[in-house]
Amino acid sequence: MEHASQQLWLIPLLPLLGFLINGLFGRRFPNLLVGLIAVGTVFGSFLWVVKSLQALGALEHAHVEHYYTWLESGNLNIGVDLMIDRLTAVMLLVVTGIGTLIHIYATGYMSHEGGFYRFFAYLNLFMFFMLTLVLGANYLMVFVGWEGVGLCSYLLIGFYTLKKSAGDAAKKAFIVNRIGDFGFTLAMFLMFVHFGSFDFKTVFDKVAPMAVEQTAGPLTWIALLLFVGAAGKSAQIPLYVWLPDAMEGPTPVSALIHAATMVTAGVYMVARSSVIFLRAPEAMDVVAVVGLATAVMAATIGLAQNDIKKVFAYSTVSQLGYMFLACGVGAFSAGIYHVVTHAFFKALLFLGAGSVIHALEGEQDMRHMGGLMSKIPITFAVLACAWVAIAGVPPFAGFYSKDEILLAAHHHHPWMYWVGVATAAMTAFYVSRAMFMTFFGKYRGHHHPHESPFVMWGPLAVLAVLSLAGGWYFKIPHFLEPLFPLAEGAHDETLVYISVAAGAAGIGLAWLFYVASPALPDSIANSLGGLYKLVYNKYFVDEAYNAAIVNPLVNGSRSLLWRVMDAGVIDGAVNGVGSLSRSIGGFVRLFQSGNIRSYAAWVTLGCVAVLVALGMAGGR
């Protein structure tokens, strides 16, 4: 059924408008007006999403709107097309809904910071790109959003401009993402070679009749390269290293970009391309294994961190791993389900952590917290909701989605289920640990904690309700059934009990360690020695990357290109040619580097090479 145009372009355009107004004139506006514009435009998008979805009804088929032919050259035709189907609808509601809440929160959180207008301009720009990403009806539109959110993420991580670590973290995020984008671009080009289009519909229609590839073929390559892109954006092994550092940005940014929305773009893209992935089982296995490995590894690192935001950052990496595990075993709807519930509770965790940090005037180290339950009770109450949600306690949000994923994993390979359950136990442990260290026991810091204002805890309360009831209320897999048929197989009750028990065990153990007998963790850390150090230092992955990739690249280009090519090869060659040019040496020595003759020799050598290749060797 064809629907009338819903003017979908308004959805991304409203935040863009906010960006333009605040970016151009915000400096002269009072903070209140800046906040109103920023929040208003995003909330406007949310309302427009709701209105469009109501008008579109059941959304049995994708609704596509074509506005403008962006590029037309030869066999290539790319339009500015926006599309809504059920998958987009879910993502739109999450992005604009949670986006609005976080914007409101940020007006309170950032009220004492300089560059208030700049912050909201960037945040609105981010919303524009993120909405373009999920609304785009072809891969190029998605890519525009993809690069755009990366750029905004870069700007916002480095928002505290004069902090060197912020600048480094921002740069790292951008560059690691570039590696992922390299994969994405290659995938797009491959797609173009094989299907002659970037359009979702055209590509998927051509892929649909193709057979499942038993051995790696073009579809497998496309899928794998797309996954490289997804791994960059969604922080999977080996490209996850930027996300923990990204916590240098202001906390609302961590919540919006690095927990709830942008980092799930990779999951969205894989789910969007499910038609391709389902015909490339080898690529699916890679996705599942990488997802699972990321989940385990990040969870173990999370066990030993002391910075409250770092704990949640590694938790995000780990949860994203879960989502990819779901996609990899074919349960795309479970993956998106987890995207949604995770957006609720992780945004809440970060914003709650922000509230704690705000209360303690910038303190992030949990060793200097403790006993805050009575001092900031509202923050504790809302964080407790997120806590039970992420720990997988039934019937709260995280339980439902995690359960779906684990069951699908068991259906695929039982060992994946068991590893997943172990990870769930660790998840429950590190979150409980963070909660106990922060809110229980005695206060170990020296600030005077104060509760956050209503603009901050109001959004938290909404998120708390969503974290508690969102999983039960929103039956995402059911809603997505037309796109992703539900996996068959019995709903095995035992497996559910086991995973719940694992979560409970995690909480219990954390209680034992950090409330019942606080001396225990230190003695265990001591007795584990090396292993603890390894985990505490995040497996030394950053150091390994620096040693194996960054330094050789930088030093290599210095010594190879600088010394060898400029000085060694050329001068060496010249010394060989020698005496002829030496007679004009006195003249040349007038110049700082004195190597015109070596340059000329280089030109001659090059010419000889080209001559041999083209003139002599090429005779047919």
Partner: protein
Amino acid sequence: MGDNFVPTAADMTRFLPELILTVIGTLIMVLEPLTREENKSRLGVIALAGLVAAMWGSAVAAADPGTAFNQMLIVDGFGTFFRFLCIGVGILTVLASFAYLNREHANSGEYYALILYSIAGQCVMVTANELIMLFIGLEISSIASYVLAGYLRDDKRNNESALKYFLLGSFATAFLLYGIAWIYGGTGTTNLTEIHRVLTNRDIAPLAGIVGTSAALMFVGFAFKVAAAPFQIWAPDVYQGAPAPVAAFLSAGPKAAAFAIFLRVYLTAFDTIADRWQPIVVVSALATMIVGNFAALQQSNIKRLLAYSSIAHAGYVMCAIAAHSQIGTQAVMFYMVSYAFMNVGAFAAVTHFARQGERYVNTEDLAGLGVRQPATAALLTVFLLSLIGVPLTGGFFGKFYVFKAALDANLVWLTILGLLNSAVAAYYYLRIIVVMYFKEPGDSTANLQPPAMGIQAVLWGSAAATLVLGIFPSWVLDYAGRSANLVK
């Protein structure tokens, strides 16, 4: 035959831009001694008017396409496209130069006249249909550029730059001339269309050695002018030493014209031996990208960094030439436009920032620019993002088309390595952004004046063009596509 040597009205119309540029250039030279020192920048305004008139002249010439002067020139869509581009670069350069020349107390008419002459040479190059004409155009353009590179006679860096450029430049053009001699010896003509006809009709087996050698010798000349490996070696020294607005000019105008003749000669005259030159271009493209990008990683002088970056960009463009197709030609044309705007814009920012005597040309000197002059920093960021190839900028679609063309031609590995290269490139551009925004403002930005009017115009205009090219690429792309069909 005799009466053919009297130019017809149509000949003159098709030669209009060159005529205008030469006349105005000479006029400026005549007015120069009559103008008082403090009024010299008025000569720049005349130059600007001359360039605008030349733009108009190109449009007039394009309305009546065809050959001129006994088929020595050809006014086709391709040539007209590059005429517009080179003249446009000239306008931006003159705008960026006012402040520079005032600052250095070196305002004189010859600077503007030389720019006009250089552009006249480039216009001849891009419409040449004949190798001797092409050579003459190249020399007119180059000799003016050599003088421009050493414009500040008392500046050691300028001297060094000019002399290096001149010595190596003449060395390389000698190869080109030698190549022309060979092809004339082999085919008996220097007309591109004729050469193509001879090589198509005749079994070229006996000529293979001669044609191949000629192609190789001419490759040396062209590769030198576009700064492609292994003949890129002069570029960093010359760009670093030359006055900043001249470096902007050199990196955009002459380079675009050189790419135009490269394409025209290789896709018409040497079209029939494409399977032989293609591998050379592929290897050269690859080497150019690698040398440019990896050497740029090490640079702390921003002019030198931009020089290496411009080498890397030449490498991307070479990928499209290697594709050897109409789409490839179109990609080159689009790329050169977007590249001209982003690169001239970046150099204009450097011109502004370097201040008198170009004292502040290290990347570290930009520390805190984002705080001290947010608008300048933001505009420079736009150019840098475009150089990286971020979507919604011209640089993105430039790269997109180049690599698409290479892929269409089945150059899969070249595409992959090219994309990898462009991923590496993000690093050194980003470093500049990081310094601008995340470094404590130091002494270098303490007494920075706001940018002069001319520089403001270049910065804003180029940034707007960069974004328009990224958001509405089809405006230029369609035009390039219609013009990419070279007459064979």
